[in-house]
């Protein structure tokens, strides 16, 4: 433990400094004393009784540690972004409370002050039986770091729920928790239970309706243990043969979605602490599955009728908003006041209205629409499938279709908006048009009669010059950020001609330019549905791809291939034998191979060399082999430690003769003789090999029969010696 920690600190000097400056402050508030009391026995996690009685805790990561919601997240943390007029974190907290979680640790990184302020004023403070504790840290740039921080401060000592603050769910946790606890009682290595849900990705786009990449997982059908997890599959899913040795059936899926709700044991934190390369939450899953030594196991819990989804990108924002309006997330729906005190009425066809709405009688509100408090809607305006926040002013003759309009937005007469996100305080001057997929960050002003092209992102913040600086901007201190904002707003007013022309006269904001890659992928994570032309194009692509990736049957370099390459390089460059041995040894440890594997692979490489050298008759080939063995035979010595190793070599050669070195097949005995003469293989090995083969199939015995006389001769020779 000490060792790993040392390396951890030394590897990240920056962090060290932070610790010294104590710029991280772990603010611990509102911690009820009962919880402390109940934790007294929590140190020994293995103790079953304790697991059952320790009050349930949760770690809520109030940061997604990515930039998918840029540029909005430059000004506001993602968890505070409203989804159907309620900040995402409220959905998560409300669910945690309903799931009987007693204490939630909210880890705030970027914009931590905003989150702390919000939570201070929210109804989550001073709740009985539910405490929300915020932990601020400015330097965490990944979920892994945040969890290491919690571990190092000893804030958790029992089972906990790990969830990100942008999760919307209504699942009943008791069953999953019960399963987790029972598994833990039987096996302390069952460290985590992951919640998954059915969701078949599209055949064309290879992504789910939440806009996340298709996931490939394998689960043990009976125990529900997770055996394989991969979201970027190259060609085929490869399951270790040992899986089936223990389980009679395994199911592999491409139709499941990871809900990012994990029931974890304390060990998960220590795993994060020990493996400082775990950044993303799922690095742990991949790490645990790839690590056989630790023996940790991850299990899955599939939910069927319950809802659970994470707002990962703009497309999931769109999908989840629709799910909320269509009440899949009940009781977390707009007309149930689970976090705010705005009374909202539900009308027929899924229309929700808050109070104090002034709506022209000629305005048309379509189904599945939410309209916030104090919003006014002008004459002949049409609103379809959209969410409109509080205090918006919408003029006459406006068309709003599939848009997410946050609070205090002004839309003047004759605007047309399709599938766009408009953040707080956006102003759209009369006659302006938003094409599908546009995102307007806070306080952007779109000039009159301007058409904002599809998938544009407009913000008052200028686009960071380099992609890398994204993080810094987003995770910058609040102070410097406000400074920034002031600057940029002014810039926006007077800035270059280009910006003005794009946003129009009187417009404010920068249109973020997109790199080539972004432009190609922009449809993937946008609020707008995928255009049909794109789908057709993709269908063609999928077809072509299908053929091409079936052909490219590239195997990863195997141990044998590498040995062969090493050997050939040694031969070509006339490297000293010791050096070749050194390299082979390092390969051996890399692949974790036994000495017999080295011997057989080396011998294979030698025979391959003999085969590849020019020869015109079988006799010539034997001569080649003789040369190679004479010159390099000493390489084999260190790996031939016993009879078994030698038998392995014979069998390898046998295999070669039947597979890719058929030329050797008639010369089998001659080569064997050669090996015997050179003292590479002892007679005992030959005899054992022949004995072993006795039992084998007829087809396997071809070479034993061939070498019958040789074996006999050996037998007689040994008898004579005796």
């Amino acid at each position: 433990m000490l060792l790993s920690r040392v390396s951890f600190e030394s590897s990240e000097d920056v962090e060290d400094e932070h610790v010294v400056e104590s710029s991280i402050l772990a603010v611990v508030k509102n911690k009820p004393t009962e919880t402390m009391g109940a934790k007294k026995g929590g140190k020994t996690v293995d103790d079953v009784e304790d697991i059952l009685h320790v009050p349930l805790k949760a770690i809520l990561l109030a940061d997604s540690f990515d930039t998918k919601f840029c540029p909005i997240t430059l000004e506001r943390p993602k968890v505070l972004l409203p989804i159907v007029n309620t900040p995402m974190i409220d959905y998560t907290l409300a669910w945690l409370e309903s799931a009987n979680v007693v204490e939630v640790l909210v880890v705030c990184c970027s914009h931590s002050k905003q989150i702390v302020d919000y939570l201070d004023k929210s109804k989550w403070v001073n709740r009985p039986e539910f405490s929300v504790t915020t932990i601020e840290s400015h330097y965490c740039t990944s979920a892994g770091e945040a969890l290491r921080l919690i571990y190092q401060n000893n804030l958790i000592n029992g089972d906990f729920i790990l969830i990100s603050g942008d999760t919307v769910s209504n699942m009943v946790l008791t069953e999953a928790l019960e399963e987790h606890k029972q598994r833990r009682q039987k096996d302390s290595k069952a460290v985590m239970t992951m919640v998954i849900k059915q969701s078949k990705p599209s055949q064309i786009t290879r992504q789910t309706r939440l806009g996340t990449d298709a996931l490939f997982i394998a689960i043990d059908s009976s125990t529900k243990q997770l055996l394989y997890y991969n979201d970027s599959l190259k060609r085929s899913l490869s399951l270790d043969k040992t899986f089936l040795a223990e389980n009679s059936s395994v199911s592999s899926h491409n139709d499941k979605q990871d809900c990012y709700i994990d029931i974890c044991s304390y060990e998960v934190l220590s795993l994060f602490n020990e493996n400082f390369d775990y950044g993303h939450l799922r690095d742990l899953v991949k790490g645990v599955l790839g690590d056989e030594v630790s023996g940790c196991k991850i299990y899955t819990h599939e939910i069927h009728s319950d809802y659970a989804a994470r707002v990962d990108n703009f497309r999931s924002y769109d999908s989840i908003s629709k799910d909320i309006i269509q009440r899949w997330t009940y009781p977390f729906v707009p007309d149930v006041q689970f976090s705010t005190n705005h009374p909202t009425n539900r009308e027929r066809q899924g229309i929700y209205r808050a109070s104090e709405i002034s709506q022209s009688c000629s305005a048309e509100i379509g189904p599945f629409t939410y309209i916030g408090k104090g919003t006014s809607i002008g004459d002949k305006t049409v609103v379809l499938n959209s969410v409109i926040g509080d205090g918006c002013k919408i003029g006459g003759g406006v068309l709003i279709d599939g848009c997410y309009i946050w609070n205090n937005v002004t839309i003047e007469d004759g605007c047309k908006l399709k599938q766009a996100i408009l953040c707080d305080g956006v102003v759209m001057r009369s006659g302006s048009v938003l094409e599908p997929g546009v995102v307007l960050s806070s306080n952007v002003v779109v000039g009159p009669k301007i058409v904002v092209p599809a998938y544009s992102k407009v913000s008052l913040q200028p686009q960071p010059v380099e992609q890398d600086s994204d993080d810094e901007l987003e995770y910058a201190d609040d102070n410097s950020e406000t400074l920034h904002t002031v600057n940029t707003v002014e810039n926006g007013y007077s800035s270059s001609e280009r910006e003005l022309s794009e946003i129009g006269i009187g417009g404010r904001g920068f249109v973020w330019s997109k790199s080539e890659v972004d432009r190609e992928e922009e449809w993937r994570h946008s609020v707008a549905p995928i255009p049909e032309s794109k789908l057709i194009e993709l269908t063609h692509k999928v077809f072509d791809e299908q053929d091409s990736d079936d052909e490219s049957d590239e195997e990863p370099p195997t141990f044998e291939k590498e040995i062969e390459a090493t050997f050939l390089r040694g031969v070509r460059k006339k490297i000293k034998e010791e050096d070749i041995l050194l390299e082979i040894n390092s390969l051996r440890f890399l692949y974790n191979m036994a000495s017999e594997n080295c011997a057989s692979a080396l011998f294979y490489a030698m025979m391959k060399l003999a085969l590849d050298s020019p020869h015109n008759s079988p006799a010539n080939l034997v001569k080649n082999a003789n040369d190679v063995i004479t010159r390099w035979g000493s390489l084999l010595k260190p790996y031939l430690r016993g009879i078994d190793d030698e038998i392995e070599v014979i069998m390898k050669f046998e295999e070669m003769c039947t597979e890719n070195g058929k030329e050797f097949a008639p010369l089998f005995v001659q080569i064997m003789h050669l090996l015997y003469d050179k003292d590479i293989i002892q007679e005992e090995a030959f005899l054992n090999w022949a004995n072993e083969k006795e039992q084998a199939d007829e087809s396997d015995k071809v070479f034993v029969k061939q070498s019958e006389t040789f074996i006999q001769w050996l037998n007689e020779a040994s008898e004579e010696e005796d």
Binding site: K200, P201, S202, Q203, I204, R206, A214, F216, A218, S221, L233, K234, R235, S236, L237, S238, L239, D240, K241, F243, L244, A245, N247, S248, S249, V250, S251, S252, H253, N254, D255, L535, I536, T539, H540, V542, F543, Q546, D547, D549, D550, D644, I647, M651, E692, K693, Q695, A696, D697, E698, D700
Partner: protein
Amino acid sequence: MCETTQTIRLKNHRNLRSQILNRDEDLRDLFAPFLPLTYRSRDKVKPRVVMDFQVVVLAGGTSKKLAPLVSKDIPKSLLPVANRPVLSYVLDLLEQSNLKDLIVVVEGEDTDCLVENWISEAYVDRLHVQVASVGEEGGTAGALRAIARHLIASDILVVSGDLICDISPGAVAAAHRRHDAIVTATLCSVPVSGPPESGSSSGKDKTKKPARHNIVGLDPTEQFLLYIAAGSDVEKDIKVEKSILRAVGKMEIHADLMDAHLYAFKRSVLQQVLDQKQSFKSLKQDVLPYLVKSQLRSEILLSEEKAEENGNEDSCNSNNDKVMLSQLLANASTPSFHEIYALGPNGFAPVERKTHKCCVYIASKTKYCARLNSIQAYSDINRDVIGDASHLSGCSFSMHNNVIHPSAVLGLKTTVGPHCMLGEGSQMGDKCSVKRSVIGRHCRIGSNVKVVNSVIMNHVSIGDGCSIQGSVISSNVQLQERVVLKDCQIGAGFVVTAGSEYKGEPLARK
């Protein structure tokens, strides 16, 4: 009348498989409406009546694994199981499903006469059997290659001749037809005790073949075969191609199912594959995995068959029939993932993808299924057929739960326990005891002989005071007095001298 009721049933029961399990006897009716429909036009061209399923029984030759029990005189297919040749179990099974057009393929020159003689004697007027003999090197695929010109029906059922089971081949054929599959494999559960061969393997024995069971990948409806590993591939890591997983969404991988060696093939496809891939030797290890692997990017030309067989005049006729047939079948089940995949996502594929269906028929757990492919299996099967799976023996058991032929003679104080069989004309002396054993025809057994857990074939003479335990004794063997055998196999005509004792040894005439 018949046709309409059948169609309605197809429509109503989407999951036909469960229904078939209960209604094997209905299958004949089920095919009846299709038969004239498909072949009406063809019959004009070819005067011979074409069966819609032709059966190939791969009876093998003289397997080395069964030495010393098999020899030139007794090929594997004629080895008696509960006093009748193993081949008769398969033939009876086929007869029960009304599959009467058979080709029995045997390996080696001499054996075919023996087999042919036996079949013509036993199945005269019952089955239409051709016996063909092929070389020993070609493997199962080679055997089919050799008899290719005899295959004329549109679908071929391939059965291993050493299969002892009560899975209805008709049900397999029905599943094959219903899906319009190119291959249907039959799977059965692995016996709880593990595959028969695994028991004997011990320690680091590298030359031993792996335990012979399969790794099978199925779709969620358990109708389609998505992955199969046989032979040595079973020991390797499982590689599932993402394209197929994408198309299906979910694949269940089982290690508790094994290939029962009962396959239905579309004839044109089978021949095409055998022609194109000359290196394929085994149906199980080469042909089936190849077809399964390529099911979503099929290289098989399914249309070829029509042009080649019907000529130009008839092709349109038969096309219509085909369409009707497939419509009938399509009503039976929702479109499979193959069809969805072929049409492309959302139904707008630029070109229709070529796919073919590989189906499975999973036998219910209560069915018995075993292959006689080792000495161990031979003993086990004999015990099962007179024990737990007695319905297979075709004999009626007495109230003592055994079968004693009326012409058999028992001496004084001789007891024959339950789960025993005593063949025609056999005689036993006094104070003998037989337990869980099969004794063949015309054996002469002296006094004070103990036979436990053993199989004794025909015309064996056993002297007084012998003790035979867990052994197999071939025909015409002579055991002199006081011989003690334990776990031995004795080849035909061998003479064991008086008083000798053997344990765990195969004995055969040199």
